[in-house]
């Protein structure tokens, strides 16, 4: 008797449920389309290959959403073009950014994990003051320090060096990694969750702190390591202000790809006719980053959640 009642309830529930479910589907699909539109437009613009009647190429923003003609011309031009007097500028930019991203990733992850572990699992006199200080320093807008960092790096010869302009890349790597250690909150939140009992029992067995860190904590930290690595790898691809100041406006051969693309449209002599090439560049930049995010989705979510919960 009770099962009949339950089934009846289920079926009537299922009708209202069905309606709300389809409504949900519709809403979600609409939202998904809205969310994709800007990205779709950039991707479409990258393949756009329209010409004026007399043969001049239309590279600007046009009023039509869908291209009237498609082709791979933009990508070809992008890779062979000479921007700012630098032949084959775009591949050079990608190469620079790749180097910066790899080194930044390695150094930053190492620094952040070190600091986060210390703050989370170790107890020492300067712990609370350090945390307070890092929070306070983090409140200053970062633009205030850009010029000073440029001159500091320059005095070591790591940027603005006419004889060795490539050293500015090293300077930029230092500048990016140096700030990373202060952003340890998310990683610390993650380490906080690891039970202290684990650490204590290891200590009882006579392990040094270093051994605990290496043998016990690190293997458990795969999610947060990947999260940090992902964040610090993708960072240099997206930053277009800091990199320009450090590498220098007179050094386009060593710009990063975001500085270069941004300067195409918004530099000192912007050429709005390069918009389709810009879009092609954006597609090329976006592909590796998006792929990384897709593959490492779960770690990213874990990192985000850890950061949110612990603040």
């Amino acid at each position: 008797m009770s099962t009949d009642l339950k089934q009846k309830k289920f079926r009537s529930q299922s009708r209202t449920q069905k309606v709300s479910l389809s409504a949900t589907y519709i809403i979600l699909i609409i939202l998904a389309i809205i969310w994709i539109i800007p990205l779709l437009w950039i991707a479409l613009s990258a393949f756009r290959c329209e010409f004026q009647p007399d043969g001049t190429f239309i590279g600007r923003v046009t009023s039509n959403f869908f291209p009237k003609a498609v082709g791979l011309k933009n990508f070809k031009d992008l890779f062979t073009a000479t921007y700012y007097g630098v032949p084959n500028a775009f591949p050079k930019w990608i190469f620079n950014t790749l180097i910066i991203a790899i080194f930044d990733c390695i150094i930053s992850t190492f620094l952040v994990l070190s600091v986060a572990y210390c703050m989370s699992k170790l107890r020492f006199k300067m712990r609370k003051p350090f945390m307070n200080l890092s929070m306070v320093i983090g409140l200053f807008p970062s633009f205030m320090s850009m010029i000073a960092i440029y001159f500091l790096l320059k005095s070591i010869g790591l940027t603005g060096n006419p004889a060795h302009p490539e050293y500015s890349v090293i300077g930029l790597i230092l500048a990016y990694s140096a700030g990373a250690g202060m952003g340890f909150q998310v990683a610390k939140g993650f380490f906080d969750v690891i039970p202290n009992a684990l650490v204590e029992s290891a200590k009882l067995d006579g392990c040094t702190n270093y051994q605990i860190f290496r043998r016990i904590i690190l293997p458990l930290s795969k999610p947060i390591i990947i999260y940090q690595a992902l964040m610090s790898f993708t960072g240099p691809w997206m930053d277009f202000i800091f990199a320009k100041v450090i590498i220098g406006a007179d050094n386009p051969a060593h710009w990063t790809v975001s500085v270069g693309l941004y300067s195409l449209l918004f530099g000192t002599h912007p050429d709005t006719n390069l918009f389709t090439q810009f879009a092609a560049g954006c597609v090329i930049v976006a592909i590796p980053i998006v792929t990384l995010f897709m593959f490492l989705q779960q770690y990213y979510v874990e990192g985000v959640t850890a950061g949110a919960v612990k603040g």
Partner: protein
């Protein structure tokens, strides 16, 4: 309230500041008096005490540091014709008698004059070096004293190997934190101090010294007074635009945080709905927008909404409007209110996937039996949302809300890439949709009004610091972060 309680408000009030300082000095004297001759000599030559105790490597390292710093201080190496060392301290007063600039037409020899910004920067570097010097001085004396104490109780003073081993264990935190501390000191603290100092100078490409833009001088607090009186180009800009920009920054931060937050929750609920297929697909689609760099996606939106972009053309072709609408306030005549609304809406596009991801994780953690119990009691979906889901999520993510609010105060990309600061007001740098950060950027990097930028930066800092201190001090998460376990 007694002074003691004011200074050390914790329950177990330790010694007061004065008491601690006094103890330091007496310790100092004791160290000198009780120490071996090696320790006494360490006050003059670093590492002497270590040599005395046959800790050669350690002693040599201390000596090296002392030699290096002293060399820099005495011999003043120069970069760009501006010196480090004791000369830099003299330069810090920014009293220059001439531009320099001696030119010999025959040989072409040109000695350039003073560069004030480098003088300030190197002056601070020198001060930092002095601080490091005294820190290492103290360290070397302490290490010698420790060896003395060890000797006294019959222990052999630690060898270098043993010191290194200690670094991996009881002093592991020193090993882990030192690289970050050094990096932070050079790349974060020093530049920030430098910029704060610039707020007290006249370094402004508009107010430049008539002799050239490389020279400026200390202004004391005149810059801050100018903010109130509105004099000078710094005063004119900050006095007239600070309150409107500040007001908009708060409005923006509140709306951006709340819209993204609730939007994310709603979206997460929609995706997490029982019986919905393709959760992963939807989630992946929304992650796509996080993955694409902001300068790409926001510039795309800016172009779509541009004067000759698809949206305006569609509207004009359909006959709904006669002339293009300036959605993003890119023209001074465009509507500022419209620009503000559009920016908040587009920011939702940017921020909701992020909060959606976060709340998804949290929603999945809500114990299902809570819902079961509620359903048995006959609660409707809406009621369950308001009484179970919402309070739980809000409780868990309160710290996130606060940090997101502060993050939005400093959110640069959303405003800069979309509106470039909004409808410009003729005569000012700060536009209609400028936040404090974007204003700071425009003023400093674009216009070279460094002291104005520094003043704005300081004000921004004071505001965000106050908010942070007030909210964090109160929030349980901070007080109990130690005891999460």
């Amino acid at each position: 309230m007694s002074t003691k309680a004011l200074i050390a408000p914790s329950i177990n009030s330790g010694p007061s500041f004065g008491e601690r300082l006094g103890k330091r000095f007496s310790n100092f004297g004791k160290r000198f008096a009780d120490g071996s001759p090696g320790t006494k000599l360490s006050h003059l030559i670093f590492g002497a005490g270590n040599f005395y105790h046959k800790q050669y490597i350690k002693g040599f390292l201390f000596l090296l540091i002392q030699a290096a710093i002293l060399a820099i201080m005495i011999f003043c190496p120069s970069i760009n014709n501006t010196p480090y060392g004791w000369k830099a301290l003299k330069n810090l007063t920014l009293k220059y008698t001439s531009m320099g600039g001696e030119f010999d037409p025959v040989t072409g020899q040109f000695t350039t004059g003073s560069d004030c910004k480098l003088m300030v920067l190197f002056g601070f570097v020198t001060i930092a070096l002095i601080i490091v010097y005294f820190f290492v001085w103290n360290l070397s004396i302490n290490s010698s004293y420790k060896a003395d104490m060890d000797r006294k109780v019959g222990k052999k003073p630690a060898t270098f190997k043993e010191d290194m081993a200690e670094l991996l264990d009881s002093r592991f935190h020193i090993l882990m934190l030192t690289p970050t501390c050094i990096a932070a000191a050079i790349f974060t603290i020093l530049p920030t101090v430098f910029m704060i100092a610039l707020a007290f100078t006249s370094y402004n490409s508009y107010d430049m010294n008539v002799l050239g833009t490389n020279l400026f001088e200390w202004n004391g607090f005149r810059n801050f007074v100018a903010v109130f009186t509105g004099e000078g180009s710094l005063g004119f800009e900050v006095h007239n635009r600070f309150l409107p920009v500040l007001g908009w920054t708060f409005v923006w931060a509140i709306f951006a945080t709340l819209t993204c937050y609730f939007g994310g929750i709603i979206l997460a609920l929609l995706i997490n709905k029982k019986g919905l297929n393709g959760k992963k697909i939807f989630r992946t689609l929304f992650i796509l927008t996080i993955a694409v760099p902001q300068f790409i996606s926001l510039l795309a939106v800016r172009n779509i909404l541009g004067e000759y972009g698809p949206v305006n053309s569609m509207l004009m072709n359909a006959g709904w409007i006669q002339s293009p609408i300036g959605f993003l306030g890119l023209h001074p005549t465009d509507s500022e209110k419209l620009a503000k609304v559009m920016v908040i809406i587009i920011n939702m596009w940017v921020g909701i996937p992020y909060t959606m991801l976060m709340t998804s994780g949290i929603l999945m953690n809500i114990p299902a039996d809570l819902y079961e119990a509620a359903r048995v009691d006959g609660a409707s979906t809406v009621k369950m949302f308001f009484k179970i889901t919402l309070p739980y999520v809000i409780f868990v993510t309160t710290p996130y809300l606060i940090s997101s609010f502060i993050g939005n105060i400093n959110s640069f990309n959303s405003i800069f890439l979309l509106t470039g600061g909004g409808p410009t007001y003729t005569g000012y740098q700060a536009g209609g949709t400028d936040l404090l950060v974007t204003w700071l950027f425009k003023v400093t990097i674009d216009q070279g009004m460094y002291n104005t930028g520094a003043v704005i930066g300081i004000f921004t800092f004071i505001i965000t610091a106050t908010i942070t201190l007030v909210t964090y001090r109160r929030s349980k998460a901070y007080n109990e972060e130690d005891t999460f376990q």
